[in-house]
């Protein structure tokens, strides 16, 4: 009885943890914009969690600098399974304008598995929302396998 409910709930209450991996703050502001009254991500059950231990979705923004690389990996390891990694903005995909810099270790997919990529510099809140909803579908699939 509970198994069915747990499976159903898996995609309905995704909690986010946001990691800034050397982002310029543009994407971060757009992520916050998703929670404002205009876009209201909470209607899908999204909630910004304070610690990676509570998170279902890890949102990474920024090109992953050498300073943040270790921290990003540690935060990803701290999140309990099942979890989904969402890369927001062009930086985690391709390092964007920072490509080739001595202090950049990205792109993110070289370091870890990335489930959903949202492109744009910075992406629109609508695009981020679409990416997050896609992430909940992956969460539900992952729950189904376990």
């Amino acid at each position: 009885m509970f198994k069915k409910l747990i499976k159903k709930s898996a995609g309905k209450s995704p909690w986010l943890f946001h990691v800034n991996a050397g982002s310029c703050n543009g994407c971060d502001i757009e992520i916050v914009a998703c929670l404002t009254p205009r876009y209201d991500a909470e209607r899908f059950g999204f909630k910004l969690a304070g610690t990676p231990r509570h998170a279902d979705i890890i949102v990474v923004s920024g090109p992953v600098t050498s300073q943040t690389k270790e921290r990003v990996l540690r935060v990803l390891a701290q999140a309990p399974e099942p979890k989904v990694v969402v890369a927001v903005g062009s930086c985690p995909q391709s390092c964007n304008v920072f490509k080739g810099s001595y202090s950049v270790e990205g792109p993110l997919k070289n370091l870890t598995h990335v489930d959903v990529e949202v492109c744009g510099c910075a992406p629109k809140p609508e695009a981020i929302m679409a990416g997050l909803v896609e992430a909940t579908k992956i969460l539900r699939e992952k729950r189904g396998e376990n």
Binding site: S13, D40, G45, H54, P82
Partner: protein, 317 residues
Amino acid sequence: MTMILTILFYILIFPGLLFCVTAGLLLSGIDRKLVARMQGRVGPPVTQPIYDFFKLLGKETIIPAAANKKVFLTAPVVGFISLVTIALFIPIKLFMPMSGVADVVVILYLLCIPSLALIVGGAASGSPFAGVGISREMVAIIAYELPLAIILLTVGKLAGVGGVTFSFDEIELYQAYFGPNIAHWSMLPAAVAMLLVIPCEAGSHPFDIAEAETEICEGPLCEYSGRPLAVFKLNAALKTFVMPALFTALFLGGMGTGRLWLDVLIFLAECFAVMFVSMTLPHAICARLKVEQTFKFYWTTVTGLAICSFALVWLGV
């Protein structure tokens, strides 16, 4: 045999486990929805806390290497049991399943345990964020415990004609004869003080200093994940039912209609109204207070209101 079955029914289904868990989860869902509507958002569905709970049940439980495993895992359960016990003892109008077993002082002690469980669990997790969180939680307990004790004393003085009573039976009977306590104007300051105690006790928004997720990573809950976290979230939801229920029993009690189901509906409606005034409205309009602001507020304004009411009742005005 039937007596044992009846008591089991009380504990597991009607005023106990199933009833208070459902009521708590739905009330906190309504709370979240109303806060969202007041902020001009669509808001999550009313069933959102139920989804949250079951999702957390399905998550991996990580126990940090620095944690004391046994204490880390039992602390949330202890808090949960004590909250269900409180729900058993709170009278619904004149329906008192466990009449004579416990009085108001027991409730006062039991109300401490969930907060203490949070402190013990946080301390056992071995995280520095939890360390900051538990010191803040202790300040919160000290802040609201004093006015709460004075409020209970005031109600006891009013209901115990001549002396002071701590029995729920006498308080409910007094209200059945003389009308709800809130109708006595000398009790109004105490009722306002109690409304202000509820959000701090329940860890609701303007006073959620211990679980400030934007400052100290949810404080004592920092290292919790999976099932123990689910139980802690359930405790928070239960408090949104138990605290308004206590207010309803102390200030809005009375005759009832004689039909149990109607009484329960009226009781739940009153709980909802109390929750709306004391938790939803402050959540929607206030920002989080600082630790010392909370402490000062409770020991001056709220305690002052409670003492004012206590003096009026004591003088027999």
